[in-house]
């Protein structure tokens, strides 16, 4: 079993490898999948599959869906387009700032604009969002200016927005931790009586994570907790096909959305490059949660067009033809084509959005290079809610030490 062939050979390689169903197997035991079923499942992780919810094709054509439709005005369409263009521009500017040494690292969202804007715009102001670390588009929808993301990546702070006021939790770097935290928050919403058909002030929680995170224990535990406590939480998985260099096949043998069945709540796969479908599906899922029918797992089927972070090199682990295929599914271009074809927007609109994105990029750059390094006191501030005398002494001694340099005229 430890021969090299074992590790390199796909399993099962042919139907001949699969033993025939046992006559004595209990009826309650699910049959082992056939080779065709396994291959179909893996293909579904790379091609979307027949269950993919889509409302706008890559060619920009509106299509109907029997369960999810969206009544959206031309103005609504233009707003979604504007969101995606501005968020992409901010992302590209930050990527450039990292290349120029102004940011220590950047986590690109290129290609995932529709998944994030669709989900972000589906939220009500009172809903709560728990991001991972790539959710710049969701942050945008929560009213967080892109400049507020810079401190994390320039190393001046860990995020400056007020999570409770914006209802957008701090970025979480450890993979999957936030999924449990969000589930607990949603349990609190239920305890507060904010769930049910009769309430005007019902709330839901949405938590963002990637395909790689689905392998983490915390995410699976969150699925258990969410189901057991009927927590009003939407588990929003952005399947961008790659967990740094590890492909989907290293995370799952079945499409991710199907995992929800095993935990006892609905799972649904949406075209994550289709902002209309993502908006419609997430709106439905959040409403399910607000009315007490949660949780729901959404798998937004999308693609990370850039590196995992500015520190890795995707050319080492994936083929360029894959990238080229996904370029044809670009989330912004299909909305642009739809706007033009339907005469929902004119040239002035596109020119205005372009000018707006230029201004945003310029503002981001100026803000970034002017960001001050916080005073040394920040190291010690807010470690505890209540004082810790040993830490207070350590702070005082260090600040006195630094002050000595100032008195002698030296730099520190």
């Amino acid at each position: 079993m430890s021969s090299p062939e074992y590790w390199t050979k796909p399993w099962p390689s042919s139907s001949a490898d699969i033993p025939p169903p046992s006559e004595s197997a209990p009826a309650a035991v699910a049959a082992r999948p056939t080779a065709e079923q396994v291959i179909a499942g893996l293909r579904a992780t790379s091609e979307g599959g027949p269950d993919l919810v889509q409302l706008l094709t890559p060619e920009g054509e509106r299509v109907a869906h029997p369960h999810f439709d969206l009544d959206i005005t031309p103005e609504g369409l233009r707003d979604l387009y504007r969101d995606m263009v501005l968020v992409r521009r901010a992302d590209r500017e930050c990527n450039a700032l990292q290349r120029q040494g102004q940011l220590g690292i950047w986590v690109p969202l290129l290609g995932q604009e529709a998944a994030q804007i669709g989900a972000g715009r589906a939220m009500r102001p009172t809903d709560m969002a728990f991001p991972s670390y790539r959710e710049h588009g969701v942050a945008w929808c929560r009213g967080i200016d892109p400049t507020e993301l810079l401190g994390i990546f320039r190393g001046t702070d860990h995020g400056t927005w007020d999570p409770l006021e914006k209802r957008f939790h701090p970025y979480t770097i450890v993979i999957g931790n936030q999924v449990l935290n969000a589930t607990g928050y949603a349990m609190g919403q239920r305890l507060d009586g904010k769930v049910g058909d009769d309430h005007q002030d019902d709330e839901a929680t949405i938590v963002f994570f990637g395909d790689g995170a689905t392998s983490q224990g915390d995410v699976n535990e969150a699925f258990v907790w969410g189901a057991v406590y009927d927590a009003p939480v939407v588990f929003f998985c952005q399947n961008n096909q790659w967990a740094i260099s590890e492909p989907m096949e290293r995370q799952s043998r079945i499409p991710l959305y199907q995992r929800a069945n095993g935990f006892g709540f609905p799972g649904i796969r949406v075209d994550g490059n289709d902002v209309l479908a993502t908006l419609a599906v997430t709106r439905w899922a959040l409403e399910e949660c607000r009315s007490g029918n949660g949780p729901v797992l959404i798998e937004a089927f999308t693609y990370r067009m850039d590196a995992h972070t500015t520190s890795d090199d995707p050319t080492r682990y994936r083929l360029s033809d894959e990238l080229e295929a996904w370029k044809l599914k670009d989330p912004i271009e299909r909305v642009r084509v739809h706007l033009v074809r339907g005469q929902f927007a004119d040239a002035d609109f596109f020119a205005h959005v372009d000018a707006e994105s230029d201004a945003l990029a310029e503002r981001l750059r100026a803000y970034c290079v002017d960001m001050p390094t916080p005073p040394a006191e920040r190291i010690f501030s807010n470690v505890y809610a209540e004082s810790s005398p040993p830490l207070d002494r350590q702070r005082d001694e260090f600040l006195t030490y630094l002050a000595d340099f100032d008195h002698s005229g030296g730099a520190h």
């Binding site: 607990g184 949603a186 915390d218 470690v383």
Partner: protein, 358 residues
């Protein structure tokens, strides 16, 4: 003294009534009429009940804590009185318990998690050190996470592997967490309430082998501060510092030493992070000798930290090196050997003798 001393375990010398001695040495006082003799287990139960009655946002989470009342019955009767929404029997996953408690705290609740045994806290370690400890700092104080994690800790109950560990140093090493250990019923009652009232996350270590030890508890007394060490016994010959299950062992040692004419000062740390070492420094400056006693392996431990700080602060007062009496730097042994592993009366007295002879 060593010639006349027979080998005695800490359990073997336990007698009812010592707890009241410790209480008298403390700051407790107040009107009479509310005093009762209770075990540590009962005191914790009463303390949890009082906290839940005082604040409807206090909720309990843990495995088997509802109908069963917890494997040690600490939460006995609470689900019956406060309902399943406030005393939640959870699925069996420690990261899930702590991770969801963090979310509940962000929402405004004050969750109290029960970890069944010390060795089971490690599946939740990531949530504790990566999220619970850092959210206040990360958000510049905008998010408070007043989560209490109760951990029955330490050995001496003849248990199987993973049921007798002393993991407190891991958490004392992580900034953002507060770590405390109670040693008697009076502290158990007050400290659990103070920990729940704290806006910081608190790791609350309970000496499981002492759960059934009794003392007089006056519920109308003024509680001692949560993060302060307490001098349990005054003395002038040497200082003994301990916490949690070792409080009883060291109380016995101080009494036996007194029979041999050695007046030892005994300090219960109570708070392991932050450490309140001012009373220890003051004591060592008078006695010139320090013995630190802890069940946990000694290397890179709280005992090691105290030894380091005392030599730094009291260098010119020391008449002997600081000695540590701890568990060995080994995995916790099989139960038939734990009596050899755990610091007992003899090992504490042996260290006292070595210090006095120096």
């Amino acid at each position: 003294m060593a010639e006349t001393r027979s080998r005695t375990t800490a359990q073997g010398t336990d007698t009812a009534g010592d707890g009241s001695t410790r209480q008298a040495a403390g700051a407790a006082g107040g009107p009479a009429g509310t005093t009762q003799k209770v075990t540590i287990a009962k005191a914790l139960n009463l303390g949890l009940r009082a906290a839940m009655e005082r604040d409807p946002k206090v909720v309990l989470l843990g495995e088997d804590i509802g109908k069963l009342g917890g494997v040690f019955r600490i939460t006995d009767g609470l689900q019956k009185d406060f309902g399943e929404q406030r005393v939640m029997d959870t699925p069996l996953a420690e990261s899930g318990i702590i991770g969801t408690a963090i979310g509940l705290a962000i929402r405004g609740y004050r969750p109290v998690c029960e970890i069944q045994f010390d060795g089971f806290i490690f599946p939740g370690f990531d949530q504790i050190v990566s999220q619970l400890a850092k959210l206040h700092f990360r958000t510049q104080g905008r998010i408070k996470v007043p989560v209490v994690i109760r951990v029955p800790f330490g050995g001496g109950i003849g248990a199987v592997e993973h049921h007798s560990e002393s993991p407190e140093s891991y958490f004392a090493h992580t900034a953002g967490l507060k770590v405390v250990a109670c040693g008697d019923p009076v502290d158990a009652y007050w400290m659990i309430q103070q920990a729940i009232a704290s806006d910081d996350p608190v790791l609350f270590f309970e000496p499981k082998r002492r759960y059934q030890e009794k003392a007089e508890l006056d519920t109308s007394a003024t509680p001692f501060p949560l993060h302060a060490s307490r001098v349990l016994q005054q003395g002038s010959d040497a200082t003994v510092v301990c916490y949690g299950p070792m409080v009883r062992t060291c109380t016995d040692a101080v009494r036996v030493a007194a029979e041999d004419g050695h007046r030892l000062e005994l300090i219960d740390l109570r708070s392991l992070s932050p450490l309140d070492l001012a009373p220890v420094f003051e004591s060592v400056r008078r006695t010139g000798r320090l013995i630190v006693v802890s069940e946990a392996p000694g290397e890179s431990s709280i005992a090691a930290e105290i030894a380091a700080q005392v030599q730094q602060e009291c260098f010119y007062s020391l008449e002997a090196p600081v000695l540590r009496v701890t568990g060995f730097d080994t995995p916790y042994p099989p139960a038939k050997l734990e009596e050899e592993f755990l610091p007992d009366l003899d090992r504490v007295l042996d260290a006292v003798e070595r210090s006095l002879r120096w």
